[in-house]
Each structure stands twice: as structure tokens, then as C-alpha cells.
């Protein structure tokens, strides 16, 4: 029966339904073979970490937003290790043994050893955000942990141990509720400065519990006053100076969550994007000297397409459409689509979530850790989203959902669109937990990117990338000489035939996490790289030509050639 006149669709509604179903079938069938496949190998890894949010039924808001993780090579043995942040007992909670952050050394072959104690990085603070960088330019990676409470800076001693140098460095940052944190060379002087985002002004005195339909729930961010973020300038002598006010960062109060530093306008300095929870997101534009202007609204990043402030959670940058500009993907609260902001190249962004399908599978869940990564090495970036409801009792006031849910995997179809392939993504995509942070790197050095997920109040999930495609790839590890030692903020351009890819080294990204210091480029069937260009932050440009594919390439600043 035709029940709608032809002016609406030019076809009957019945026909429309058939077409929609056909479209859905085509999408599912096209990817039924599973072009991206993850295997859950958590049990094989030897990782025994269990996350705690320090809760005991009081529903302190900070419980609901923990914690981040870091993937980085702490011992310089060329494989990626894992550092999990943990909560801490909150008022009213007792533990026999205090929960601590845990560091796992990658032994190869998917075996990990807990080296927390030997390394001396078992902080007992309430861990929220983490970033890694060589702040003292001594050739090894240091760790900064953004806590609820005083923060911690661990200096890497270069012998697989760390020293807590927070006090002498001057970066404890008082007693705040932390969020994302980032190392960046804001003034291009060759050493790494430190951005510290703050969530909100929580105390036990202003704590409150809300109810919905009579059922208790965590209060929302707006129930607490907002906070400005902090910025510390590296003095070059192992100490930092708080320049939050002089830099312009402290002018803006918000409810900071995830963040990422990226040169969004490609002007050779590092800018900062901070996702705010139910508030306009901040885009701090760097003038090149470490002074920042907040331009989120005019750039089109503060709000979603409709002009609504999202419950923004994590954010990552990447060039999803290979047009040479860094785009942003940002996760959000339930009943909101996670958002993809396309960089238009003129300091403007466009919310292209709906037209690209990049929000598929995210509406029902609270979404957290995320990244734009080329999982199948076909030359375009796919999207992984960690999901899990913030309210641990959501099923009591909406019994069609639960806080334990599947994560989301979106495949880039190469024409600027995404398709939800979560159900075809192998047993790794069938895990249902309350995910928070997620990190992405090649943990087994086999040329594809794997995933580590921190799950609230549970064991983490480790996903091995078992995608069948045998595409070519390149990984780039940067070594700064005059500039910071790991090339944080440096931009790499890879040209292979008709394909041009860009990326930057980030410190701190996604949901309050750190990962991906070795840049990963999927090349499809292209078997030769014509040119690689590295633009160092505060340094020159190195160009390499005719590079082999399928290798981890270390590029040292100024050498102009690969080592």
C-alpha cells in the first residue's frame, strides 16, 4: 500500500523500507569476511591488573571518569610496554592493600611482566590522566600522572627505574581533579613543556548524588564548579614554571576531560584541543611562543553540528580523508553521537559525523577512548571507540541497555565514509565491559596496530590485530637532536605513489591516555615510499627518498636519512 505521496521520496514508503534494508544488508555483506579482525588475548598476556575506581557506593563523581593508560617503550628495547593508571580508596572505602598504578614490560610473544615495583612507578594517588615524554632530554621517556590530588612526575633513570621528581620539578599542581595531560614544546625551544587539564572543583564537602526516577546516580559535571587548566613551562634545568596565566590558558574555565596537542593549522607550532564535559570544547591556538588564544567557537569545534555542547570525553587527531589536514574525532555521552570534525584547512572545522557515518554505533553508549588508526593498512584511518556507561546501574532506569557493552569499530571505506563493522571484528569486539581508556600501538612488532583497553573496575582487554589483509606499511620513530628527543609535535609526511599521508607525534591523547609514539602508516598495495618529510618542532626539515616499506624506520633529526 502506498501511504505517502510521491512528493516525499518519489517512491512508496514500502519501497523505501525495502531499500533501507537492502542498504543495511549490503553494508553487512561487504564486510562479512572481516577486513579488520581483533582477537582477545588478554588471558595469554600475564597481565593481572584490575582497575579500581575507589568506590564504596558513595558515588563520588571522580569514580565514574577514571582512568587512563599509557603505551610506550620505557626501557628502550623497541617494544611497547603498558602503564595502567588506577584509582585509590575514596572516603568510606577501605582496601587491605592500596591499589597502585601498574607497569608491564613487554617481553615479546604477547607476554608481559609486572615491573611496577622494580621501576618504582606504583603511585597510589587517584590516577586519571597520563602523558609520556622526555622532559629532561636525556634519551629516555618520563611519565607524568594527572591525579585527583597531587600529580606525579616520574623521571626515567635510564636503567629501567624511575624517580619521583614531582617536588623538585614543581609540577604537583595542588590538589585538583585532573584529566588529560600533555607534553608539548609550546615555545619551540627544544624542551617539553607540560599542559595539565583539570576536570572540576570536587571536594567531599560539595559532593552530591542525583537520582533519576528515584534511582541514585552520579551527579553531572555542572553540579560542580568548572576549573581552568594549567600550563607549565620547562625551565630547561629539570624544573617548571606555572605559566597558566601568562599563556592565556587560565582565562578559560571548563570541565576538561580528554585532549590532544596537534598543529591543526599547520603553521609549525603545537596547538591544544581540550574536550569539555557538557561545555564548549577549547581549541587553544598557539602563536608560536607559547601564548594561546581560545578559538573553539569560531573554529567550529566547540559545539556539535546543532550547536549543542556535548558531554565530550576523549579526543584524538588524524587525517581521516588524507587531505593533508589533521581532523579530530571526539567521543561523548549517551544519546549523543561521537563527533568527527573535518579540518577545512582555513582554521575552520565542519562536523561531518552524520554525512560520513562516523557516529554509527555510538548513540546508545557513553563513549571514551578512541583513535583514528589504519587497522587494515589500506591507506586510510579507521576508528575505534571504547564504550561503557558511566552510570553503573543504567539498566535500572533504562532496561534496554547496560553499562557492560561492546566497543565500536568503524571501517573507513576510502571515500570519506565509515561503516560499523563491530560485529564482524572478531572475538575481540565481542568483549562487553565498562571500557574507559584505550591505547593503540603495535605491541608485537608485526606491522599492524593492536589495542589495549582499560575497563572500569575490571581487568583490561588486550586485542591482537589479526586482520587478514597483507597490505604494506611503515612505522616511523623520530629521534630529536636539537629539538625534543622523541619528536613530540613533529609532523611526518609520507608519499607513496598516489597516496600522501600525514601524522604527528602526540604526547597524551584519546581519553586521558598516551600511545602511538611510533607513527604508523598503512600503504595498501604500494610497495615503495617515494618521499618522507619530517618537520621538527622548532627545528628544520628532513627529507628521505626511496624508502623501503614494511619496516620500523628511525629518523634522526638533521641526518636527512634513515638509520
Amino acid at each position: 500500500m502506498i501511504f505517502m505521496d510521491d512528493r516525499v521520496f518519489g517512491l512508496s514508503a514500502g519501497r523505501l523500507i525495502v531499500d533501507v534494508l537492502a542498504l543495511l544488508c549490503i553494508s553487512a555483506c561487504a564486510y562479512a569476511d572481516g577486513a579488520i579482525v581483533f582477537s582477545d588475548i588478554t588471558k595469554e598476556t600475564g597481565i593481572t591488573f584490575i582497575h579500581t575506581d575507589g568506590s564504596s557506593g558513595q558515588r563520588y563523581i571522580i569514580e565514574s571518569v577514571s582512568s587512563g593508560l599509557a603505551l610506550f617503550d620505557y626501557d628502550g628495547d623497541s617494544d611497547v610496554d603498558i602503564y595502567f593508571l588506577n584509582g585509590a580508596p575514596l572516603k568510606g572505602t577501605k582496601f587491605d592493600k592500596a591499589p597502585i598504578n601498574e607497569l608491564y614490560r613487554n617481553e615479546g610473544g604477547w607476554r608481559f611482566t609486572n615491573v611496577t615495583e622494580q621501576a618504582g612507578v606504583g603511585d597510589t594517588g587517584f590516577g586519571l590522566g597520563v602523558a609520556v615524554g622526555d622532559y629532561d632530554n636525556d634519551g629516555d621517556l618520563d611519565i607524568y600522572v594527572n591525579n585527583y590530588g597531587p600529580n606525579v612526575l616520574y623521571r626515567n633513570n635510564g636503567d629501567e627505574t624511575f624517580t619521583n621528581v614531582t617536588s623538585e620539578a614543581g609540577v604537583a599542581n595542588g590538589h585538583k581533579v585532573g584529566a588529560a595531560t600533555h607534553f608539548l614544546d609550546m615555545d619551540k625551544d627544544g624542551d617539553l613543556d607540560l599542559f595539565v587539564a583539570n576536570y572540576l572543583d570536587f571536594t567531599y564537602e560539595n559532593h552530591m548524588i542525583r537520582t533519576s526516577k528515584g534511582i541514585p546516580k552520579y551527579a553531572g559535571p555542572m553540579d560542580f564548579p568548572p576549573m581552568p587548566n594549567n600550563l607549565f613551562r620547562n625551565n630547561g634545568d629539570g624544573t617548571f614554571t606555572d605559566v597558566s596565566v601568562e599563556s592565556g590558558v587560565a582565562e578559560h574555565k571548563g570541565w576538561g576531560m580528554g585532549g590532544v596537542c596537534a598543529d591543526f593549522d599547520n603553521d609549525g607550532d603545537t596547538d591544544v584541543y581540550i574536550a569539555n564535559d557538557v561545555y564548549a570544547n577549547f581549541l587553544f591556538e598557539n602563536d608560536g611562543t607559547g601564548k594561546f588564544d581560545e578559538i573553539g567557537l569560531i573554529a567550529g569545534l566547540a559545539y556539535d553540528l546543532h550547536g549543542d555542547d556535548q558531554g565530550s570525553m576523549g579526543v584524538d587527531s588524524g587525517d581521516y580523508d588524507n587531505d593533508g589536514w589533521l581532523d579530530f574525532y571526539q567521543t561523548s555521552y549517551a544519546e549523543e553521537l561521537a563527533a568527527l570534525y573535518r579540518n577545512l584547512g582555513d582554521s575552520m572545522f565542519e562536523d561531518v559525523t552524520m554525512v560520513t557515518g562516523a557516529g554509527a554505533g555510538t548513540m546508545e553508549y557513553v563513549t571514551w577512548g578512541n583513535s583514528m588508526v589504519d587497522f587494515d593498512n589500506d591507506g586510510d584511518r579507521d576508528i575505534f571507540v571504547a564504550c561503557g556507561h558511566l552510570q553503573d546501574n543504567i539498566e535500572f532506569y533504562n532496561n534496554t541497555t547496560t553499562s557492560f557493552v561492546q566497543n565500536t569499530l568503524l571501517m573507513n571505506t576510502g571515500d570519506g565514509k565509515f561503516v560499523d563493522v563491530s560485529d564482524q571484528g572478531g572475538n575481540g569486539m565481542k568483549v562487553k565491559l565498562r571500557s574507559r581508556a584505550a591505547g593503540f600501538d603495535d605491541l608485537d612488532n608485526d606491522g599492524d596496530v593492536d589495542v589495549v583497553i582499560l575497563n572500569s573496575r575490571r581487568e583490561p582487554t588486550v586485542l591482537r590485530n589479526d586482520s587478514p589483509a597483507k597490505n604494506h606499511w611503515l612505522q616511523v620513530h623520530l629521534k630529536g637532536v636539537k629539538t625534543n628527543r622523541d619528536g613530540i609535535g613533529a609532523r611526518v609526511k609520507v608519499v607513496s605513489g598516489d597516496l600522501t599521508l600525514i601524522d604527528e607525534v602526540h604526547s597524551g591523547r584519546g581519553y586521558q591516555s598516551h600511545y602511538g609514539m611510533r607513527l604508523h602508516f598503512g600503504l595498501g598495495n604500494r610497495d615503495k615510499i617515494d618521499r618522507i618529510e619530517v618537520r621538527w618542532i622548532g627545528g628544520g626539515i628532513d627529507i628521505l627518498k626511496d624508502v623501503e616499506v614494511d619496516q620500523l624506520l628511525t629518523i634522526t633529526e638533521g641526518s636527512g636519512h634513515a638509520q
Partner: protein, 410 residues
């Protein structure tokens, strides 16, 4: 002596209230078994309580009994949208429109679902349809703006945002839309101007939101939600002729949510049906107290007061109506009618009736002007005027009576 009981905690009160609602809806299903209305009320209640699975069961049972329930398909579609099941939502909206093609807001919401699933061109067609049905839908215009913005048709986007703002000058998101359009067109000054407007409105919104949060008490929200159940069940009993039960339930609804005008409207309807105009008048006065700037309640109060021979009250109500809606003819016409009915101020009545007709040339206004002319002895004008009223509304019994009376006088 009975033992003193501890007062219930808020949590216990909420549980008790929700149980009461459930019992009420179950009783309704027992009293009217096999009725789709009862099942829909139960489904809606389950949905409000967060039991979406049960809600869908009851809605589907209601559709088995009465497949023509467009409201049920609409509810299902909105539920699908919340879960991000946009294709399901579109199919359910289409079902609703199959049953009731002119149902307001359905095309808007379907357009939204299509946009969310990336089908922007289809969304535009659907949203245009909504504007044909509901030309005052600011939401439809706003979404059209969004769709054209996505299509990079910036002029059309701007036009639609402007239309949304014309309908609702405080439409915050539409200002954001226009700012985005100007930014895309490279007009940074205009983009900044609209961004500033947007920021200002947004800040006001956040202030009011904060105010609401501070006052927010889930028990109050639960009471408001329970009032909806009481109203729905009350309506069902009224429609089935159980007026005493309906009145009892609607009064309870008013107790739970004294700001809910729907329950007072329902009570007023009930009293009108049961020929209790005095009580009906009281209900409209309550609505007036809740919404003192709403012209409609003054119109009804004036008419009912006149019916009850409370002429001073009636005059006061009509004068207030003229103040609130000076460009609408109702107040002038009804005040003129009042003077004519009470046999006073005939010259003023004629002036008022002329004003009413100048504003709106409809049958009631022709009729009252004819009556005023006749009362002022102007038979020459009275006759053609009443003839026009009869032409415009031939089914009205009152107009021919006046016509005959004027003819007799002539």
C-alpha cells in the same frame, strides 16, 4: 493507640508513588480489558519508568488490537532514535504517517532520523513536507537549515535558520547555524556577530539550566511523571463515561503537579460534559493563574462568566483578552456580544464589532456586527451583514434567527 510510624524517606515515597501508578494502570486494564487505550497507557508508563522492554510489549499488544494507533508508532520511533536505530525509527515514523498523514512533528523527527543516518537529501524532502503541515514549526526550519548546511547550500541554510528565528527569536541553535553559514561563506564579521548572539543566548540557557539543577529534586520530577499517569487514566475513565472516578483521578493529578494545565483542562472538560459550568470556570481560572499571559483562558473565562451571568467578571476577562491579543478579533467580538446580550453600551458594542470585523472577516464577526447594527437601529447595515454571516456559515442556526428578526423590524 496506634504506634507512631516513621515518616517515609524520599526513596520510599518515590517507590510508593511508582507502585501507585502501576496499580492504577493495571486496574484500568482490568476495568477495560482488551482495550488498546489501556495497553498504550501501560506501555507509556513502563517507558517513563525505564522499563522499555515491557513498554514495547504493551505497545505491540495495543497495535494487535488497533493497528491504527499512529501515536504508538511515533513513540516506538522516538525510542528507536534514542538507541541510534535510525532505520527502525524511519520505518516506524512512516507507519505513523500511513495512518495519519498530517500528524504534526512526525516528518520533522523522521527528517532528523534521516539526517542522523547520513541521508541528507531524503531528510530535506521530508522536512519540506513538515513545513507544509506545520508552517510554524521552528524545529523543522532549523533542521532544514542543518540539512542544507551539510549539503553546502549556504543561502538556503541561512534562509531556513532565519525562518526558525522569526518563529522563535530565542532559538539559540539557529544562531549557531547562521554563524556557521557566514563562517563558511568567509564573512568573518557576520559570523562573529551571530556567534556573539549565540554565546549570549547559550549563557542564558546555562543559567536557567543551573537554576533548574539547583531546584531539581527527583521526587518532584517523579510526582510530575505520576501526574501524567493519573491524567491519562482519568481521561480513559472520562471517555468511558465513568465521570466520578475520572474526577477523583484528575484531582489527584492536580495535587501531584499543580502546574500541569492538562489536568485542569481535563477537569474543565469533565465539568462541561457534566453540566457544571461553575466548576469548569474555576478550572479555567486556575489555568489562567498558571499561564497569566495566555489569551485563550481569558476567552473561555469571559464566555463562561457571561453564561453564569457574572457579567463584570466576563467584561474584565474580555478586556484582558484585548490587551493580550490586540490583533485578534475574539476579544472585541466577545465584548461587543456581552454588551448586546446585557442590553447596554450599544454604540460601544458596534465600535468593537467593527474592529473585530476589520481584523478578521469571519462569520461570527459579521453576525455580531449585524446584531450591533440592529441594536443601534441601523437596519440598513444589519441586514446585508447577517446575510454575509449566513453565506460564510450556512449551518449556523443562530444567524437565520437574527436575519428573521431584522426583517421583521424592517
Amino acid at each position: 493507640m496506634l504506634p507512631v510510624r516513621e515518616p517515609l524517606s524520599t526513596k520510599q515515597e518515590i517507590v510508593a508513588l511508582k507502585n501507585e501508578e502501576m496499580e492504577l494502570a493495571e486496574q484500568l486494564m482490568r476495568d477495560f480489558p482488551g482495550r488498546d487505550d489501556s495497553l498504550v497507557i501501560m506501555g507509556n508508563l513502563c517507558y517513563r519508568h525505564g522499563n522499555v522492554i515491557k513498554a514495547l510489549e504493551f505497545w505491540n499488544k495495543a497495535l494487535e488490537i488497533n493497528p491504527k494507533r499512529s501515536d504508538v508508532y511515533r513513540s516506538m520511533a522516538l525510542s528507536s532514535m534514542k538507541k541510534g536505530k535510525f532505520a527502525d525509527a524511519v520505518a516506524q515514523f512512516l507507519k505513523a504517517l500511513e495512518i495519519e498523514p498530517q500528524l504534526p512533528d512526525v516528518y520533522s523527527n523522521m527528517g532528523h532520523a534521516l539526517m542522523m543516518s547520513g541521508q541528507t537529501k531524503e531528510a530535506i524532502k521530508v522536512l519540506e513536507k513538515e513545513i507544509q503541515i506545520s508552517p510554524n514549526s521552528g524545529f523543522a526550519y532549523f533542521l532544514l537549515g542543518q540539512a542544507y548546511l551539510q549539503q553546502k547550500e549556504y543561502e538556503k541554510a541561512k534562509e531556513n535558520y532565519e525562518a526558525a528565528i522569526k518563529i522563535n527569536p530565542g532559538y539559540t541553535n539557529a544562531y549557531y547555524g547562521i554563524a556557521s553559514v557566514y563562517a563558511k561563506l568567509g564573512n568573518r564579521d557576520k559570523a562573529k556577530e551571530y556567534s556573539e548572539n549565540f554565546k549570549k543566548l547559550k549563557a542564558e540557557e546555562r543559567k536557567s539550566l543551573k537554576g533548574r539543577k539547583i531546584k531539581y529534586d527527583d521526587f518532584v520530577e517523579t510526582q510530575k511523571s505520576a501526574a501524567i499517569t493519573y491524567i491519562n487514566v482519568g481521561q480513559a475513565y472520562r471517555e468511558n463515561g465513568k465521570l466520578v472516578k475520572a474526577e477523583e483521578l484528575l484531582k489527584q493529578a492536580a495535587g501531584l503537579d499543580p502546574e500541569n494545565i492538562v489536568c485542569f483542562l481535563e477537569l474543565a472538560t469533565l465539568y462541561q460534559v457534566s453540566k457544571q459550568p461553575s466548576k469548569a470556570l474555576q478550572m479555567y481560572k486556575k489555568i489562567r493563574d498558571i499561564q497569566p499571559e495566555s489569551a485563550v483562558s481569558y476567552l473561555v473565562i469571559g464566555i463562561l462568566s457571561s453564561h453564569l451571568k457574572r457579567y463584570d467578571d466576563s467584561e474584565e476577562a474580555f478586556r484582558k483578552l484585548i490587551t493580550l491579543a490586540p490583533q485578534k478579533s475574539d476579544g472585541y467580538r466577545e465584548l461587543a456580544r456581552l454588551y448586546l446580550k446585557t442590553g447596554q453600551k450599544f454604540p460601544q458594542a458596534r465600535q468593537l464589532a467593527e474592529k473585530a470585523l476589520a481584523l478578521e472577516a469571519n462569520a461570527p464577526n459579521y453576525f455580531v456586527l449585524s446584531w450591533a447594527c440592529y441594536a443601534n437601529g441601523d437596519i440598513t447595515n444589519a441586514l446585508p451583514t447577517v446575510k454575509r454571516a449566513i453565506e460564510l456559515d450556512p449551518g449556523n442556526q443562530q444567524y437565520p434567527r437574527l436575519y428573521k428578526q431584522i426583517q421583521r423590524g424592517y
